[in-house]
């Protein structure tokens, strides 16, 4: 059983990751990935365990799983209790076990246990297709599925850290394009650390192929964000740049440098954007600023402005099912900023008091369209109808040559079941799976047309969002 | 009663009561005229009246040719409505009597119109609102005064509205009653537009399309307002409804656009500044008339009722 050996050989690694993780995550402002590394480790190993024997005898696994599930539920209950007191960030250590537990649980009710232990058995396929029925125009999009079978093809090529990362992506422990990208870089670094060039192989070639495999694996866990792709591209170019005669450890050092500098650039970009905004009086006293959902960048900008002594109030608009806006609200309020909170349906009511709309971005497309959390485009639209300027904050590493004119061509589908919970006693949709002709659609991103956006603020300064290609060209040279 | 007398009478009316609209003045004049008129036949009678109204329209006494003509039109229509076949041919005096009597009731009613309008428009001026006003309009003034009496707090921006700078007059009148009024350049319409909550203009004539002919610059203002999705409210008494359907600015009759004197001595109109422009209904939000609050599309309805 290769799986077992892997886990055995891997465990020491996964033990030592945290310490290293801590050291290198210092620069990370949110500093969330460190705790996860630790918080995740036990589940990680568990998961590998319950995955690997899956190929073998099913009944044993069943028992195992049940036990685990119970354990997880306990953990989750504990975590809940803990998290109740202190409002915890979506990416905080506390939640990590809980979320995981949750997912395990409902995967349990959705699939039969076999499907958890992976193996593309026909039953598994059916069980998935009940989760997300194909709705006509989304046939082309990858259907949402709990990637519980992530670890099934845990071939030695896939680094444990990557596995872990993959899981964290799936469970939404790490979300937000910045967080994901930073986490990725961190993990890639680990991969490189543990990498050693096989005999009669060339480092640059082999390493890049190796990493490529890992990336593919991640992509299957959750579609890669533009930021991640760009970052990986950057890293690849570094690798290819390595002359063959260079010694392995030197080469590694170079790569570390390359990775860290990239990380730095991302973080600095954030600061620069905040600076640009404030120095150009894009946030002035008496402003009422509308923000949508959660964006680390926006949050930092606002806090920065507040520290600079600007007196403004913020209206946090939120959209289901994720309700990330609450996190935003909590942090802003904690930071002493005057806030209001509404759901997106009420946006047009408050819009008449708003003086500016600040939006984060997932990616900036070459045709000047902005890909962002679903709902952003709607906020922008309403803002336009009230003549409120819409400002998009975006680091240039999220710019891409890709072109897209609507939210369908490439998008990502979230868990439809998350729509069911409405915090009421009775859920209307509790048995939606029985209704064959009912589909739930929950997609993650949407694309905002450039004519709804007044300007884009990057670390390079303020540009109209039509001049994305220009920025890209500049970055080339 | 010859031309000069008529015009004098007309002038005196306006002088005595500057708050009176030209249209009303014109109608009064015509009533006065028919009192003194000595036509024997109905036909002659009608001819005289038309003659008189022509005098008025071509007079340079006031800028508002449009309202005068619409007033006259209304009057003529009034006659035709009023003359009922049986007693008409019997004798003209009797008919005149009826006319004069009705005329008086009519003029009495006219006095109340602005009050009605201001009552309708009042709720639209909410506390703390900012209003953009174009040129000088008696109805608008009345409405704003009313709002002021209701202790509403609002600010008014007034365009100075060249060439005759009637905006200055408006500002003075507003400030006299304690309404904070700010004078802005005509060219600053676009600039000021984003500050304001809505535009409020009077009208010299309300066309059948539901659009209005009004002091030059109204169209510009309406366009700006449209771009920024600000509502445009028009205040007009119903006697300003005219049976005209301009398709474009060009299509607006010259006698409205230019002073009669100019037209008479054949000056090159291309070099002249027009006094009025035409604002199509698509740019107007609501019209407040004594007939109630009308959407532009409702105007033609009213006119049809009157003239068909």
């Amino acid at each position: 059983m290769p799986g077992n050996q892997d886990s055995a050989s891997r465990s020491p690694l996964s033990q030592q990751t945290p310490s290293r993780g801590r050291r290198k995550q210092k620069s990370n402002p949110r500093g969330q990935s460190t705790p996860q590394l630790q918080g995740q480790t036990p589940q990680q190993n568990q998961n590998i365990k319950n995955a690997s024997p899956g190929e073998g005898d099913t009944p044993k696994t069943k028992a195992q799983l049940r036990a685990e599930r119970r354990a997880l539920q306990e953990a989750q209950r504990a975590a809940k209790a803990a998290t109740k007191q202190s409002p915890s960030t979506p990416v905080s250590t506390k939640k990590t076990p809980r979320k995981f537990g949750l997912q395990m649980q409902d995967t349990a009710d959705k699939h039969d246990k076999v499907s958890i232990s992976g193996g593309e058995t026909p039953r598994n396929v059916t069980s998935i297709s009940t989760i997300q029925r194909r709705t006509g125009f989304f046939a082309h999009l990858p259907r949402y599925q709990h990637n519980v079978s992530l670890t099934k093809d845990a071939n030695p090529k896939i680094h444990p850290a990557i596995l872990k990362l993959g899981l964290q992506y799936v469970e939404g422990v790490i979300c937000g394009s910045n967080a994901r990208c930073l986490a990725l870089l961190g993990t890639l670094k680990q991969v490189i650390e543990t990498y050693s060039t096989p005999k009669q192989k060339e480092l640059s070639r082999d390493l890049s192929t190796n990493l490529k495999k890992n990336m593919d694996f991640l992509a299957q866990s959750r579609p890669l964000s533009v930021g991640m792709i760009n970052a990986f591209k950057h890293l690849k170019s570094c690798i290819n740049g390595i002359p063959r005669e260079k010694a392995e450890d030197e080469a590694k050092q170079d790569l570390y440098g390359c990775i860290d500098s990239y990380k730095q650039s991302i973080l600095l970009a954030g600061k620069a954007i905040a600076k640009n905004l404030i120095e150009n009086d894009k946030i002035t006293d008496g402003d009422t600023i509308m923000v949508y959902a959660f964006s680390s960048l926006i949050k930092n900008v606002l806090c920065e402005a507040h520290d600079k002594g600007k007196t403004f109030s913020v209206i946090v608009v939120d959209g289901r099912p994720k309700l990330e806006g609450r996190e935003m609200l909590r942090r802003l309020v904690k930071h002493g900023i005057k806030c209001s909170y509404i759901l997106i349906s009420a946006a047009s009511y408050v819009m008449r008091e708003v003086t500016k709309v600040l939006l984060g971005a997932h990616a900036l497309l070459a045709n000047g369209y902005v890909m962002s959390r679903v709902g952003s485009s709607q906020v922008a639209l309403i803002a336009r109808s009230y003549n409120v300027p819409v400002l998009v904050c975006c680091e240039t590493y999220k710019f891409t040559e890709k072109v897209q004119t609507d939210s369908f061509v490439s998008n990502e589908l979230g868990d439809p079941n998350s729509l069911v919970q409405i915090g009421k006693k009775e859920n209307y949709l509790s048995n939606w799976k029985e209704q064959k002709s009912l589909h739930l659609m929950n997609f993650i991103y949407d694309v905002t047309p450039s004519d709804l956006i007044s300007m884009v603020i990057t670390e390079l300064g303020m540009v109209p969002c039509t001049s994305v290609p220009v920025v890209l060209r500049i970055k080339q040279v | 009663m010859n031309e000069t007398d008529t015009l004098e009478y007309f002038e005196t009316i306006l002088k005595n009561d500057p708050e009176k609209s030209e249209a009303v003045a014109a109608i009064e004049t015509l009533f006065h005229y028919i009192k003194l008129d000595d036509a024997e036949t109905l036909h002659g009678f009608m001819e005289n009246i038309q003659k008189a109204s022509k005098w008025l329209e071509e007079s340079d006494l006031s800028g508002a040719v449009t309202s005068i003509s619409s007033g006259c039109q209304l009057f003529l229509r009034f006659i035709t409505l009023a003359k009922d076949p049986e007693n008409m041919e019997s004798d003209i005096q009797k008919c005149k009597g009826i006319l004069v009597k009705r005329g008086h009731d009519f003029l009495d009613k006219v006095k109340t119109l602005r009050k009605k309008i201001s009552k309708l428009a009042n709720p639209f001026i909410t506390d703390g609102s900012t209003i953009l006003v174009h040129s000088h309009s008696r109805v608008v003034l009345q409405v704003l005064k009313q709002a002021m009496q209701d202790k509403k707090r609002f600010t008014v921006y007034v365009t100075e509205s060249n060439p005759d700078k009637s905006g200055h007059k408006m500002v003075n009148k507003l400030t006299d009653v304690g309404i904070p009024a700010i004078l802005v350049l005509d060219s600053a319409m676009g600039y000021i537009m984003e500050k304001i909550d809505f535009v409020m203009v009077g009208a010299e004539g309300v066309m059948e399309s539901g659009g209005i002919v009004n002091k030059i610059g109204t169209f510009t203002m309406a366009v700006c307002a449209k771009y920024l999705n600000k509502p445009v409210y028009v205040l007009a008494e119903s006697f300003k409804f005219a049976r005209l359907f301009p398709l474009s600015q060009e299509d607006v009759p010259n006698k409205f656009k230019y002073k009669a004197s100019k037209l008479n001595d054949k000056v090159d109109l291309t070099k002249e500044h027009p006094n009025v422009d035409y604002t199509p209904p698509s740019l107007l939000t609501l019209l407040f008339t004594d007939l109630g609050i009308l959407t532009p599309s409702a105007v033609s309805d009213e006119l049809i009722k009157l003239y068909l």
């Binding site: 309020v333 909170y341 349906s345 408050v350 485009s377 209307y428 009912l438 | 909410t126 609050i293 009157l306």
Partner: protein, 379 residues
């Protein structure tokens, strides 16, 4: 007319019949606590109460009757100002009464003015006759038809009949609307709708009998009527997709018609609809998708929207639905709004489907003048 209003105060407007009084008070209570759900029920109850009033109350003359109804109507309206339907119904009934009186007048007296009026107006178009405030009236300096001294006895029967007709109209309106379904939905269409409207639901179900089409339902947080709607449609076998409010714009690109219900149709052709509709309308406009509104006539209100913050236009529910009270201390520091309604300006609406047929928003004023009497609006 002002005179007339002046007289109103002098007349005593108390209800004598105890049963009627109870009915009125009961309705008012229900309104206050929102016990009656659905504007159809509201309308029905209101009319029934008024009908009682007309039939039971012993009043000297029409003027008295009108003033009583006005007064009680006033009470009903102020009980729950955001429920415009109540007001609409009161106006309708008043209009009916006035019409009946005028009908009698016209048959009674043949004056020269009347004849002129007849000759000068399009035959058959009886509404314009009765439109008190027309330009011509002004011109002809006619006094309003004085209905004050009509004795009620002769009128009661016809009035009650008319009101009953109104009730029938209320009942049938939904079928009448859904009957037009096939004219608006062709096969394989993708239609977006928001919230839950019985009218729209019936509309779809009717269409689904003949045609196959997809429906996308916006869930309308925080009340989630959309979810209910979706389940209802799905159980009727219609291919339904539920999306969140945030996904409207993204989805609109694939939609080729938006059909929504509404709470009220304002006098300027605008909408007072469930929260979030403005966004939907804007999105539809942006993608130039036609926005069709299904509304029974009784939702047509003679009121204009003065400003979005206008008193009693919107209604604000408890923030509980948006964020739970147990969220704790941030509540005391942050304001949370939970409006129920949304204003959609007329220029965003493509078409209204009334129970009398389809109309453009610009035509609403006309329907108003047919349904309501301008004289009643200054209550």
């Amino acid at each position: 007319m002002w005179l007339r209003n002046g007289q109103m105060e002098t007349i005593d407007i108390q209800i004598k019949d105890p049963i009627v009084r109870n009915k009125v008070d009961g309705l008012i209570e229900d309104l206050k606590h929102g016990n009656i759900l659905g504007s159809y029920q509201l309308a029905k109850n209101t009319v029934e109460v008024l009908l009682h009033m007309i039939s039971k109350e012993e009043l000297a003359n029409v003027k008295k009757l009108i003033s009583v109804i006005r007064e009680q109507g006033q009470r009903l309206m102020s009980a729950q100002p955001s429920e415009t339907v109540v007001g609409n119904m009161v106006y309708r009934v008043l209009k009916i009464i006035r019409d009946e009186c005028r009908a009698i007048d016209e048959t009674a007296e043949e004056q020269s003015q009347e004849s002129i009026q007849k000759s000068s107006t399009a035959p058959g178009d009886d509404v314009s006759n009765k439109d008190i405030l027309s330009l011509k009236k002004l011109l002809l300096a006619e006094g309003d038809v004085d209905i004050s001294d009509k004795s009620i006895s002769s009128l009661k029967a016809p009035i009650i009949d008319a009101v009953n007709e109104l009730l029938v109209e209320l009942d049938t309106s939904q079928e009448n609307i859904s009957a037009q379904a096939l004219e608006h939905i062709h096969s394989n269409e993708v239609i977006m709708t928001a919230g839950q409207s019985h009218t729209v639901e019936a509309f779809f179900k009717k269409a689904a009998k003949k045609r196959t089409f997809k429906v996308i339902v916006v869930e309308c947080a925080p009340f989630y009527q959309g979810q209910k709607m979706a389940t209802n449609l799905a159980s009727a076998g219609i291919n339904t997709t539920l999306i969140t409010d945030s996904a409207v714009f993204a989805m609109m690109a694939r939609v080729n018609k938006v059909i929504i219900g509404t709470h009220t149709v304002m006098a300027n052709g605008g909408l007072k609809a469930i929260n979030g509709c403005h966004a939907i309308a804007l999105a539809a406009k942006y993608h130039s998708v036609p926005l069709v509104v299904c509304a029974p006539m009784y939702k047509l209100s003679p009121k204009y929207l003065c400003s979005c913050d206008q008193v009693a236009f919107n209604k604000f529910a408890s923030p509980e639905d948006v964020m739970s009270f147990s969220e704790g201390e941030i509540l005391s520091k942050a304001q949370i709004y939970n409006p129920i309604f949304d204003y959609v300006p007329p220029e965003l609406v493509t078409l209204y489907i009334f129970n009398i047929g389809g109309n453009a928003p610009s035509y609403v004023y006309r329907l108003l003048s047919e349904l309501y009497d301008t004289e009643d609006q200054e209550l």
